[in-house]
């Protein structure tokens, strides 16, 4: 699906990524996490062909992203953090744009729009930012492209919409589709993603499925004095990541994992990337 090989990219003279290698498969929802300025949006732009690698390649279904060929673009939908919509109604927008995506499903779109409570007959420019975002997310999902990229999609969504968003995204995943969601609000991806990519200091420090992570480490409250890989104080004691030695699965605490990885916890990075457990 997506093959990023030895990708190096930056702006001006500053390198943002160096020798990046990732392989993403269809049938998954990937959460791309990283601190502000880590390069999440830039990595997504590389995948979408909006910027060109300094060296290395980025291919989607075997096609070089930077060529931006129609055959590549009709299998990709990119929801940027800041969106532009023309001064037409949703209905007109669909009428003028949907035919560029051969697998667009109008009934699916109408259903999502209703769930999100976005009016179809109002000018897109007159909708609130949250409504615009919900409209474009619904449109992107309804294109049924094999790759859907969303950059900070929950920004601007209210709390009920965030939960609707999770529900809708989960229902839109198929075996042939790969969804990448980038965010720095890790809690928004709770119970949604099934694999995580953490971008930190010019490289992907972890690219694992949630199951693999839960298999190797355990998340939970531990008594003080107990061994841990990473821990943070909480109301109930130490909220910690410990080595999963007994094979008991716990729910991955995204925020704790994110803090540990972006805090340069080398032990955790090593445990998660250790070969032989895949």
């Amino acid at each position: 699906m997506i093959e990023i090989s030895h990708l190096t990219f930056g702006y001006g003279k500053a390198k943002l990524f160096e020798d990046l290698n990732i392989s993403l498969k269809p049938g998954h929802i990937y959460g791309l996490l990283g601190k502000n300025g880590a390069g999440k949006s830039t990595l997504l732009k590389n995948i979408a062909g909006l910027v060109f690698p300094w060296s290395g390649t980025c291919t989607v279904n075997g096609i070089d992203a930077d060529k931006r060929l129609p055959s590549f673009l009709q299998e990709l939908f990119f929801v940027p953090e800041e969106i532009y919509l023309p001064a037409v109604t949703t209905t007109q927008f669909v009428k003028n744009t949907a035919h560029f995506y051969p697998k667009f499903d109008n009934s699916q779109f109408t259903k999502m729009l209703t769930e999100f409570d976005v009016p179809a007959d109002k000018l897109l420019t007159k909708l609130s930012f949250g409504q615009q975002k919900k409209m474009i997310i619904s449109f992107g999902l309804s294109t049924n492209t094999s790759l859907l990229i969303m950059d900070e999609p929950t920004n601007g969504l209210d709390i009920p919409s965030k939960s609707q968003f999770r529900k809708i995204i989960a229902s839109a995943l198929t075996d042939n589709r790969c969804i990448i969601i980038s965010t720095h609000q890790v809690r928004d991806l709770d119970n949604l993603i099934d694999a995580v990519l953490v971008l930190h200091e010019r490289r992907i420090v972890v690219a694992k499925s949630m199951d693999e992570i839960a298999e190797r480490v355990h998340f939970g409250i531990i008594p003080s004095g107990a061994d841990y890989i990473y821990a943070e104080d909480s109301m109930n004691g130490l909220n910690a990541i410990t080595l999963n030695t007994i094979g008991s699965y716990s729910k991955v605490d995204m925020e704790l994992l994110f803090n540990a990885l972006t805090g340069d916890n080398k032990t955790l990075i090593e445990i998660l990337n250790k070969p032989g457990h895949e």
Binding site: K45, A48, G49, L50, V51, F52, R68, L69, P70, S71, L73, Q74, L76, F77, F78, P80, E82, I83, Y84, P86, A87, V88, Q92, N96, T97, H99, F100, Y101
Partner: protein, 262 residues
């Protein structure tokens, strides 16, 4: 699937562009009509309701070049806005189709609409000016090869190509920056034209318009001017060179679109 050009996809893109920008274009035509009416009306008023065909011709040509260049220089303005650029570049159509939509609008459609609008406004002013007048003003004839308007379409291709190149090459202030580059190049051509001809032909004391005929003074009689210009099949060299320049600029704009990053 044809990844370079597909007529159906191009027409769909053209339709999308027209629907999304139609209101702006209609408003622009209304403003353009008003501007021409004002300008020609003013000329007629200050000239005692006399509006010669030559004046109409000159305003037509310069109007087309200036307004056309301004219009063309904002063709790719969406690429200067990151939000719009993402939407434009990720739309499943080829770079050629995206380029051609802008080209058709800024080159073909603009000339047709400008000519129609100008003639309409000119006709209105002439009708008003001719009221109760003995010597009637006549509407200028675009087909007259002795007038500037006849050549304005060909010259517009140069302005369009330059403006289209600037529209995509520069991030901001497209028209100002493109015009600046245009004038710098023009000055350079004028400055090097004489010494270059002197070097080639070996005649001093001559004048020459860039890409035009040269006019050396005779060596024996300093008061007489010669005109040295290509003849026969070489006569069209300038036109051929101009066409080649235009094509190079259009191609350069197209390849710049292919390389555009957001």
């Amino acid at each position: 699937m044809n990844n370079i050009f597909n007529l159906k996809r191009f027409l769909l893109l053209f339709k999308k562009h027209t629907i999304e920008h139609g209101k702006t274009y209609l408003l622009s035509i209304a403003v353009l009509t008003g501007m021409i009416l004002l300008l020609l009306g003013f000329m007629s008023f200050t000239g005692q309701r006399h509006l010669p065909a030559r004046t109409q011709n000159v305003f037509f040509a310069f109007g087309m070049w200036i307004i056309g260049s301004i219009f063309t220089s904002v063709s790719f303005i969406d690429l200067a806005d990151k939000k719009k650029a993402v939407s434009m570049l990720t739309l499943p159509a080829s770079h050629l189709e995206k380029f051609l939509v802008q080209w058709v609008y800024s080159f073909l459609i603009f000339q047709v609409l400008f000519t129609g609008t100008y003639y309409l406004a000119d006709w209105i002013i002439i009708q008003i000016s001719n009221q109760g007048k003995e010597i009637q003003n006549e509407l200028f004839d675009i087909r007259d090869p002795n007038e500037l308007a006849y050549y304005s379409f060909m010259a517009y291709a140069v302005f369009n190509a330059f403006a289209l190149w600037g529209a995509i090459f520069f991030q901001k202030l497209h028209f100002i920056k493109t015009t600046f580059v245009f004038f710098v190049l023009f000055i350079v051509f004028v400055a090097i034209s004489d010494p270059l001809l002197h070097l080639i032909v070996g005649l001093s004391n001559s004048t020459a318009v860039p890409f035009g005929a040269m006019h050396p003074k005779t060596i024996t009689n300093g008061n007489q001017w010669w005109s040295v210009a290509p003849t026969g099949s070489m006569k069209n060299t300038n036109i051929v060179m101009l066409i080649i320049t235009v094509i190079i600029l259009w191609m350069s704009a197209f390849y710049r679109l292919k390389e555009k990053e957001v």
